[in-house]
């Protein structure tokens, strides 16, 4: 086993839910993808269940718990879309330190779709009208519809970008 004594392992296993993924992997918040991978490899050397077959069952259970969380941390942080969600969650002060993988992938997918098409029915409707206005070359109407879409979804980056581009075109 690596560097941790059984008592330390047990303590770490107990406080898992209080550690965020960066703390668990001992990687800085801004770590690059390669640095995240190296941190994962290093953590795996410390907490690999294979390395503890000779230890007593309770310690083994602790290591298994830590190892599972290390894997989860890596699975989130190596994926830029999941990592962005996770970073936002940590920044917002959310107490939950875990992100479920399938759930977060779905959220990320939905979010990118929402940014593309709008996240509210009204936003989507006005945005879609703006798009069809543009297809017909009716720029003024498109701008009005984009402005309407933005009143329902202030700050939608895709809407704003399109609006800025249209105004510049005029």
């Amino acid at each position: 086993m690596g560097t941790l004594a059984p008592a330390e392992l047990r303590a770490l296993a107990r406080m898992l839910d209080d550690l965020d993924y960066y703390e668990l992997l001992e990687a800085p918040r801004g770590a690059s993808g390669a640095a995240i991978r190296d941190a994962y490899h290093a953590a795996s050397r410390r907490f690999h269940p294979d390395a503890c077959r000779h230890l007593d069952p309770e310690v083994r259970a602790s290591i298994e718990r830590i190892a599972k969380r290390v894997t989860e941390a890596y699975s989130v942080l190596r994926d830029p879309r999941r990592r962005r969600l996770y970073d936002e969650r940590i920044a917002s002060g959310c107490a939950e330190r875990r992100l479920q993988l399938v759930e977060s992938a779905a959220v990320a997918t939905q979010r990118s779709r929402e940014e593309r098409e709008g996240r509210t029915p009204q936003g989507r409707r006005f945005f879609a009208q703006a798009v069809s206005d543009l297809a017909r070359g009716e720029t003024a109407s498109a701008i009005r519809n984009l402005q309407m879409a933005l009143t329902f979804e202030p700050g939608n980056p895709v809407f704003e970008e399109r609006l800025v581009a249209l105004r510049a075109r005029r």
Binding site: R37, D38, Y40, H41, S44, R45, H48, P49, D50, A51, R53, H54, E64, A67, K68, T71, E72, Y74, S75, L85, R89, C94, E96, L99, Q100, L101, V102, E103, S104, A105, A106, V107, T109, Q110, R111, R113, E114, R119, T120, P121, Q122, F152, E153, P154, G155
Partner: protein
């Protein structure tokens, strides 16, 4: 003497055993000095059981009592496509056992697949004991990376029957990468292209000094060297039938002759550009004169026969590379595993695909066993010299209302891991939920492999969509799947270790061990009774075919895509009758439930719905739909522990109605909400 754990590559056609001695892995040769032993079991008239090349010689003269390619059947349901294929082509009798399991009938005895595999393992254990001069009880056994949990469990059972403690069921490509990179302090990405007798696997790994991280693995358990042989068998059989009006496929003896010839021709083409095929006395003509086959086969003609099979492997490679997020130029090496990769045809195709010369310093027949031996030694050692970080090859799913399956752990997720998703009830005042666990990539439950199920009962009385059920899937470091259901309101729990439902029960395994068939295997050791050693003809056969390749084939190249095709419906009636028992058994808390039930019947008939109408619809389960506030700009779905399902209303999937039902029944925020959970007209399955 220090304890030694061995590494075993239990192959479809050939097996290999290795052990680490003074820090280096060594393949342990059998009594005839061969590094690989045929995965063939022959049941003699005198009750003797022989394994290996001597047994393989029996295929020709005793096809009914010689079992080969058993790995293609292990852990499968009797109604599966693979078993149907095997029944059509195998010369031995494949019959249905309890719980839709598979048995092989030899004279009056039925043998389960783990028993057959145990006989091979027993032989390998004997080889190791003879070579190492000590009793062996521990092993790491490899399986194709793409094996599902049922197949892994059955392999584990085989180890137990053979008297081996399986320290780990290890993926073959991972073992190969370990053998390649162990102790070399490499920092590189590699691909392992593993084309065996019956399966194809591709894994992409990142080696970081002593860490072997699998980035992705993909495979096809219906594609191997056997399929290459089948193409040639078909060609020869068709030509023979056209010429003589006799179909050699109808005569098991003739068919075995063609198989041997096809395999031999494939090996010949690994060395030469052209081979002679001569098969005397394939059949007799009307005057009782022998009709034979004689032709030459060039590498070009062979390439035409098998080209689409090779291309199929690259489709799988595309997927693995994409999942790993790597492109060709990221790879520093391609490791070839499996006998068929000796074919220059395949080597060239692999080189062209990866734009990289495949490694030639690795023996494709032995590298997996060597890696397994390294891992076995590592597991016994106090200090680790290598760390394997593997992935789960197939998504783990849970069956939900409408015959769909929701993913809880995606494929290629690193393990060990645990993941939780929250589900809700489908009906008002639903008292229990049936938790069905599947493995596979289809959104339709029936198109995935059913691993098992249990019923989680005692839910508080509530309207549909109000109850929360948290389902946690755990894959531990031994690759075993545990499932736990929890009602967060009451903290009541039920859990099970998923156990192959068509597999052997604990009692059956005990009985098999007690019967001791595996122990009857005549291990051919130097100095043992000469009568169990192969005769001269068999030895000559072994010398000729003892090379590291595949045994005769198990299946024809008939549409392997037709996995979902309909079976006869004759078997389903009795299954439905057992459903009650299952539900009752399952509601006793925390008990694992074997699953000889209606879902199997529906698998068989290809239907989507899983519960027949006359039974209470108590057990349907729904994933929690996204919680979406139409006017709110902020969107924090996951902080509450809810999840979002990735259902696009514009999705062209043929189950759009079910999608809407899922959304509306669970969340109530999206679209029209039906007043009850009644079946929509487009859902014929639930109408029954």
């Amino acid at each position: 003497m220090a304890e030694i754990a061995i590494g075993i590559d239990l192959g479809t056609s050939n097996s290999c055993v290795a052990a680490v001695e003074s820090d280096a892995p060594r393949v342990l040769p059998n009594a005839y000095g061969e590094g690989v032993t045929a995965s063939v079991v022959a049941f003699g008239d005198d009750g003797r059981i022989t394994v290996g090349n001597a047994a393989r010689a029996n295929v020709i003269h005793a096809p009914k009592t010689t079992v080969y390619s058993a790995k293609r059947l292990i852990g499968r349901y009797f109604f599966s496509e693979e078993v149907k294929k095997a029944r059509a082509i195998c010369s031995y009798d494949i019959v249905e056992g309890p719980n839709h399991g598979v048995r092989i009938r030899i004279r009056e005895n039925d043998y389960s697949l783990p028993e057959i595999s145990a006989m091979i393992l027993r032989e390998l254990k004997g080889i190791a004991e003879a070579q190492l001069g000590q009793a062996i009880t521990k092993a790491v056994v490899t399986v194709p990376a793409y094996f599902n949990d049922n197949q892994r469990q059955a392999t584990r059972d085989a180890c137990r029957i053979a008297g081996l403690d399986a320290l780990r069921i290890l993926n073959e490509p991972t073992a190969a990468a370990l053998a390649y990179g162990f102790g070399r302090e490499l920092h590189q990405k590699v691909a392992v292209y593993d084309l065996g007798g019956g399966t194809f696997d591709i894994s992409v790994l990142e080696i970081g000094k002593d860490v072997f991280e699998v980035l992705s693995t993909c495979g096809d358990t219906f594609l191997g060297g056997d399929d290459f042989d089948d193409r040639l068998i078909d060609l020869l059989a068709d030509e023979f039938a056209a010429q003589h009006g006799v179909n050699p496929r109808e005569d098991p003896f003739a068919l075995e002759k063609l198989k041997v010839a096809a395999e031999s021709a494939k090996k010949g083409l690994s060395v030469d550009d052209e081979v002679e095929i001569r098969i005397p006395d394939v059949a007799l003509d009307s005057e009782g004169k022998g009709l034979s086959i004689g032709r030459t086969l060039g590498i070009g003609e062979y390439a035409t026969l098998v080209n689409d099979l090779i291309q199929r492997t690259f489709k799988v490679c595309d997927e693995a590379m994409q999942q790993a997020g790597v492109v060709n130029r990221d790879l520093a090496g391609v490791i070839l595993v499996g006998g068929p990769t000796r074919l220059p045809l395949i080597r060239h195709a692999v080189r062209d695909y990866f734009q990289l010369e495949p490694r030639t310093d690795v023996n494709p027949d032995e590298v997996v066993a060597m890696g397994a031996a390294l891992h076995a030694a590592s597991l016994l050692a106090p200090e680790q010299k290598a760390y394997l970080l593997d992935v789960t090859p197939l998504s783990l799913k849970i069956g939900v209302a409408g015959g769909l399956a929701e993913t809880v752990i995606e494929r290629n997720t690193p393990v060990p891991i645990d993941q939780t998703r929250t589900f809700t009830t489908f009906q008002d005042f639903q008292e229990s939920v049936r938790i069905r666990v599947y493995q596979g990539e289809s959104r339709h439950a029936a198109e995935n492999e059913l691993l098992g199920e249990f019923v989680f009962g005692g839910l508080a009385r509530a309207r549909r969509g109000e109850t929360r059920i948290e389902v946690t899937f755990e894959i531990n470091s031994d690759g075993i799947v545990h499932v736990t259901a929890r009602d967060p309101a009451t903290d009541q729990k039920a859990s099970t270790q998923i156990k192959l439902s068509s597999g052997l029960s604990e009692e059956e395994i005990e009985q098999i061990i007690a019967r001791g068939h595996a122990e009857r295997v005549e291990t051919a050791l130097p100095g043992t009774d000469p009568s169990v050693r192969p005769g001269e003809a068999a030895a000559a056969f072994a010398a000729r075919f003892g090379g590291p390749e595949d045994t005769p084939a198990a299946d024809p190249p008939t549409a392997p895509e037709s996995i979902g095709s309909l079976a006869g419906i004759g078997d389903e009636v009795e299954d439905v009758a057992t459903l009650d028992e299952v539900a009752i058994a399952g509601s006793s808390e925390g008990e694992a439930v074997a699953a000889p039930d209606a879902s199997l019947a529906s698998l068989e008939t290809g239907e989507i719905e899983v519960l027949p109408d006359e039974l209470p619809d108590l057990e349907e389960i729904l994933p929690l739909a996204p919680h979406e506030d139409p006017l709110s700009a902020s969107h924090e779905p996951s902080a509450s522990g809810r999840f979002e399902i990735e259902l696009d209303p514009g999705d062209s999937a043929p189950i759009a109605l079910d999608d809407r039902e899922l959304f509306s029944a669970a969340g109530g925020d999206l679209g029209a909400e039906p007043e009850s959970g009644e079946a929509t007209p487009a859902d014929p399955a639930r109408k029954g």
